[in-house]
Symmetry: C2
Subunit: 165 residues, 2 copies
DNA sequence: TTGCTCCTCACGTCACGTGAGGTGGC
DNA sequence: TTGCTCCTCACGTCACGTGAGGTGGC
């Protein structure tokens, strides 16, 4: 009966449990369903710090790193950038409350996202209008200086498209 | 009476009209309300080609370049990337119709924008929910391993935030 | 001479993606 | 030995932004 059980993949449980509960980079990566080089990137920018390196140079992370990683995903899900998340970590390290700046950031970012949303809705509408109009138009080979009559006859603004900055 | 007219800024009319109607980089830039280095960038990636250089190395553009520039803005306004616009120019130079690929691109891009729109709406909604919830919550100084209780108690997913790729 | 315009590097932004080239672990 | 995992550079993505350091034009 034991034989019929699928083999438990060794890497899905914390390896080296005896050696003080440390995680390998791939275990951390799998916890948030990302490739390992994303974790390496976070280390490089100082967002995540391995508890130590093995004799072979391999990164070993503790439970706190896993918690930080979950925090990163949660904060990104609320629109925070990695830089902003780094600031929050900084506050926490200094035992100062990050809450005031967290509130400021999300206020600013919410307004900004609302603006992006407007732009994207407008873009989508322009695209849909163009698609509809183009259905009644033939393809054409460019002659004498024109480039693509589909686009050149579109009602999209030729200046200040709204996608700005 | 002539005296009372505001001075016509020299740079707003094609300078060197005698020298075959060429435009300076800044005249081109002003036509689309962009800083000159954007035009320089377009030249560098080969999207815009000056008709010639002056003896001093200054770029001189013809009316065709102005037309290309307007085309770029129009196409960007429909969600085309600079790479895609370069392809369209390539078709036009070879006197092949760019229309089929233009239709393909906008089909693909419209679906993609619709997806982005969904993600952005979801993000905005998460942010607004968080803002509402946080109004009833006090600021707190992190203790014993926690980082920011506002974010850590949010209902945002800690994995697969929806902002992906 | 002053203030503006022009030029070419060259590095920065944001959050990774994608190899190259080599080593460690089971 | 094989296949996987790990490592460090280092360059690419996208559409510019931002200087540095110097020159030309009126």
């Amino acid at each position: 009966m034991m034989k019929m059980l699928p083999a438990i993949p060794r890497n899905r449980t914390p390896a080296n449990v005896g050696s003080s509960e440390l995680y390998s980079i791939i275990q951390l990566a799998r916890a948030v369903d990302e490739p390992a080089h994303v974790i390496r990137y976070y280390c490089r920018i100082g967002l995540l710090v391995p508890q130590r390196r093995g004799a072979n140079g391999y990164r070993r992370f503790d439970a706190q790193a896993l918690r930080h990683l979950h925090f990163i995903r949660r904060a990104q899900g609320l629109g925070f950038s990695l830089n902003e998340i780094a600031e929050i970590f900084q506050h926490a390290r200094n035992e100062r409350s990050p809450c005031p700046s967290v509130r400021e950031i999300i206020d600013r970012r919410t307004a900004q996202i609302a603006g992006q949303l407007e732009n994207l809705v407008a873009l989508h509408e322009r695209m849909r209008r163009a698609l509809r109009r183009w259905r009644r138009m033939p393809d054409r080979t460019p002659t004498g200086g024109d480039i693509c009559h589909l686009i050149e006859t579109s009602d999209a603004p030729s200046v200040q498209s709204g996608r700005k900055r």
